[in-house]
């Protein structure tokens, strides 16, 4: 093999005509020309590698940035945010000196190509984001979307994804406390695997990703760098799947949770001894991202010797080392006199750590290989000043027809018998059925602080054993609603997650999101995206819950067909004393059931329209965020003052779904009476937002009603916790045994 000369900066300047594979690396011609313009010469191979991954859609947000700015512009005026958008994850003040950081990210494309590793490394990546803020991770959640439950490929993707999440998360010792599983044919070729993580720290322990202080050392620690995941961010995450192209499996990384567990403990120990000036995890775009972001955020420049990077494969080229997305690596900036101690801690945990460079007083990022300078760039142009696109967007021409196709006109059940059959069919449908087969593959108990976990409305973790301070998190997103109206759909996702947090007794504080959409190059998709962002930003402003950060996943489409627009919203809440939390299960026979909120005839995008009629059309339920806020205040007050013993939010599947879930979990039935002014069908199956059911001990009935009355929240007594059946008086009765059979058999039958 002949040796080609090393493509140094000098060599690049001397050989302007050398053709570089910019198109293969996912760059456009315009983008390549811009790089040449910035550098004043052609890039070296290594520089091109860095720009190509950092300017990818996944890393640069080049198509979404112009819209995402609204989250900063529409921030509500309060002081809950300690660190806002732009860092690895936002940080929220939860009181008593504690800060909580949380974030949701996508690992959609890799999880379709290689479900187990794709999902596993998604967990790994989000956990490293949280550690990089200085926090100890305390819980994970996983919002998932798959194709039709009975499609053969779902049986390949789902079990792999679930095993990957479990295999990685369980091994890290992080309780999995929430998330969702939704099936819809629109996700057949583009499953959504979003992963969220919460971390806790003291206010003074917040760390940021920046390299400051001339002479400070840059330490790469964790796993060795290998050839896996090269181009993960660019050629995998930022392109549409296409049958004609070769398999992208080599672009998927391979995870080692054991290594990550050591990395967590070792990093937290270094934090505790205050050895770290700045820190960044190596995720998408690997070393390219870590070095350019640290240098770009800091005050100085950075010099790195790539020869010092520990390799798994000694034949890797410098370009490959810079692009590799090998997992379980982090990069810390440490003062020279603290380097020895830092390395000692790494040694204690058997973590490989190497000084690979230092902070310089210039403003350049310089990278050397075999003595030659192969990168000499302004790090800001790599990390933060990438291209920004004002992609054209337009309301699709089919939107009007879709909205005109009113679900209210679908044939409704004519007899009680038919209503009963439809209810039974609904609670057994894959989306409404119990997900126990999935969630019991995740550890809920580890760390010994789990107060609530799925199927509860929100997951809840105790963060202080003395005071009982806790945090709650819920994630929600309904692609069917968002397809009908992306603005409203995004607000409904926010409203539901907000409500879910409040239902368990916690006060909603802040929002993170994971925005999953099709190709930004399609104006219709771009319109959906723009509308959803606008809806979410407006909603967060109104509810007073700032967006702390998030993630955008585009190109979730196969050929011309995009997924439903799927904004997944995570709401974080705080509860002063977890012993006041409200569970979902019915606790005691004889307790009174109340419906809070208004029920209208709203069936657009409903579970009923999907399961019974395979229909999607009309308008989604109306959103009234002021009502959501009032409902939340009532639920929180009732929980704090001991007025309710259980509560459950009403969302997809309507009231009957909620009653069945609370009954099955508590092992206690319910007798329901259809309230005046409603027909049984609307009462049971409408999906009007802003509602919850609560079980009130008889001794609290007066006090609870007075509170709702004084605050102006509509409250309707709908029945009582009783017996071993769910009975709707005058309509039908179903035993808990047959409901359990219907509700719990579906998923194992399809997927086990």
């Amino acid at each position: 093999m002949s040796r080609t000369p090393l493509d140094t900066v000098e060599h690049a300047a001397a050989t302007p005509d050398v053709e570089l594979p910019w198109a293969e690396l996912g760059l456009t011609k315009d983008e390549y020309e811009r790089i040449v313009e910035i550098l004043g010469r052609r890039p070296t191979g290594a520089e091109l590698a860095m720009y190509s991954v950092m300017w990818s859609e996944h890393c640069s947000y080049k198509s979404s940035k112009v819209h995402l700015r609204q989250f900063g512009e529409k921030t509500p005026e309060n002081d809950v945010l300690l660190v806002g958008i732009g860092e690895n994850a936002g940080v929220v003040d939860v009181g008593q000196g504690y800060a909580v950081t949380f974030k949701v990210e996508s690992h959609n494309h890799p999880s379709y190509v290689e479900p187990y590793q794709g999902a596993a490394t998604g967990v790994g990546g989000i956990v490293r984001d949280i550690i990089a803020m200085g926090a100890r991770p305390v819980a994970v959640v996983d919002p998932l979307r798959f194709g039709a439950a009975d499609h053969p490929d779902t049986k390949r993707v789902l079990p792999g994804v679930v095993a990957g999440i479990g295999g990685y998360g369980n091994c890290l010792g992080l309780p999995n406390i929430g998330g969702e599983v939704v099936f819809d044919a629109c996700y057949q070729g583009n499953p959504l695997v979003n992963a969220g993580c919460i971390g806790v720290m003291r206010h003074e322990d917040i760390h940021l990703a920046k390299a400051s202080g001339t002479g400070n050392k840059v330490i790469l620690y964790g796993a060795r760098t290998g050839g896996d995941g090269i181009g993960g961010a660019s050629i995998l995450a930022s392109e549409t799947f296409d049958d004609a192209k070769p398999s992208k499996r080599p672009a998927v990384q391979v995870g080692d949770p054991f290594q990550e567990k050591l990395l967590i403990e070792c990093t937290l120990e270094a934090f505790a001894e205050k050895l770290v000036v700045g820190i960044q995890d190596l995720g998408a775009a690997g070393l390219s991202c870590a070095t350019s972001e640290l240098a770009s955020n800091g005050s100085g420049g950075m010099r790195v010797t790539l020869d010092d990077v520990p390799l798994r494969d000694s034949t890797l080229s410098p370009e490959e080392i810079l692009m590799s997305e090998s997992q379980e690596r982090m990069c810390a900036v440490v003062e020279p006199e603290k380097v020895d101690r830092f390395l000692e801690i790494c040694e204690k945990w058997d973590v490989i750590a190497t000084v690979i460079g230092e902070v310089t007083d210039g403003d350049r990022l310089e990278i050397y290989w075999h003595g030659g300078k192969i990168v000499d760039v302004d790090p800001r142009t790599v990390a933060h000043e990438g291209p920004v696109y004002e992609r054209p967007y337009a309301r699709p021409e089919w939107q009007d027809a879709l909205q005109a196709d009113d679900a209210g006109k679908l044939p409704r059940p004519q007899t009680s018998e038919e209503l009963k059959d439809q209810v039974l069919k609904l609670v057994a449908s894959p989306n409404q059925a119990s997900k126990k087969w999935i969630t019991q593959q995740y550890d809920h108990f580890v760390q010994g602080n789990t107060v609530l976990a799925m199927p509860e409305d929100s997951g809840m973790i105790r963060i202080d054993e003395e005071t009982g301070l806790g945090v709650a998190i819920a994630t929600d997103g309904n692609g069917r609603y968002a397809k009908l109206d992306p603005y409203t759909g995004a607000q409904l996702a926010l409203a539901e997650a907000y409500r879910n947090v409040a239902t368990t007794g916690a006060k909603p504080l802040a929002v993170s999101d994971c925005l999953n959409f099709g190709s930004p190059e399609d104006p219709a998709v771009m319109w959906q995206f723009a509308e959803a962002v606008r809806g979410l930003a407006d909603g967060c402003l109104q509810l007073g819950t700032p967006v702390t950060g998030g993630n955008v996943s585009l190109y979730n489409q196969t050929g011309e067909t995009a997924i439903h627009p799927t904004p997944v919203v995570a709401v974080l809440g705080v509860i002063d004393d977890v012993s006041r939390r409200t569970p979902m299960a019915f606790q005691e026979e004889g307790q009174l059931l109340y419906l809070l909120g208004d029920t209208r005839e709203e069936f657009g995008g409903s579970a009923w329209s999907q399961v019974v009629h395979d229909h999607l059309g009309g308008l989604p339920p109306k959103v009234d965020l002021e009502r959501e806020r009032l409902l939340a205040e009532i639920l929180i007050a009732a929980s704090r003052d001991g007025m309710i013993d259980s509560a459950h939010d009403l969302s997809d599947g309507g009231l009957i779904q909620a009653v069945v879930e609370s009954a099955l979990l508590g092992g206690k039935g319910a007798r329901l009476v259809v309230p005046d002014g409603l027909d049984a069908f609307t009462f049971l199956l409408s999906e009007s937002a802003g509602r919850a059911i609560v079980a009130v001990p008889r001794s609290e009935e007066v006090r609870f009603n007075d509170m709702c009355g004084a605050r102006g929240l509509p409250v309707t007594r709908i029945g009582v916790v009783d017996g071993d059946t769910v009975e709707v008086q005058g309509a039908f009765e179903l035993t808990l045994t047959e409901l359990r059979e219907a509700h719990e058999a579906t998923i194992p039958a399809l997927l086990a």
Binding site: F258, W349, F445, E465, S579
Partner: protein
Amino acid sequence: MTARIGVVTFPGSLDDRDTQRAIRLAGAEPVVLWHKDKDLKQVDAVVLPGGFSYGDYLRAGAIARFSPVMGALIEQAKAGLPVLGICNGFQLLTEAHLLPGAMLGNDHLHFICRDQKLRVENAETAWTSDYTVGQEISIPLKNMDGRYVADEYTLDKLEAEGQVAFRYLVRGEAAEGYGNPNGSLRDIAGITNEAGNVVGLMPHPEHATESLIGTGRTDGLPFFTSILKKLVTA
């Protein structure tokens, strides 16, 4: 004076802090032991906690068994030091031949996490005296490799000598938490050595020690009160 109970942290241990908390809740003093320690810091008993020591690479517990701390532990356990192995700790005790048998992958090939019903079979060990024989308890189970196996001779001997400490409750199979969750032979969830000082089980008693947390039951607390009583009255 209270008892000092060591909890070993291996690389990949996960439930070490939870176990320390459970020991505290029972009124004893937890002592942190590190896998590279060569002595046991004169503790009165040791718990090997759950997790994935060394990533469960090769085989659960197979690498941890050769950690420096295990040398002293094996020697002292044979001399009567009370040792409890939970989940990965149980796997480790079988690898170290302090308990007979071995653990295989769950028969359904999935990780399983649930509140598991158990029956107490031996209430005379160092770790189970606060239970009564036949008592039915509910303790979280969470593992990938929980299927207890041994040859017929060993199984018969375990039964004959009363060394089966806990069994999965298979009565009422359809209800929540009942049934053999992993294919363990003779529904064995936990065993003891002949002397009764070494006990291993797959479910996690340290996760059932507070009324609000996890399953909300405290059925696991007697493990820690049993040993405390034994040590302070000894």
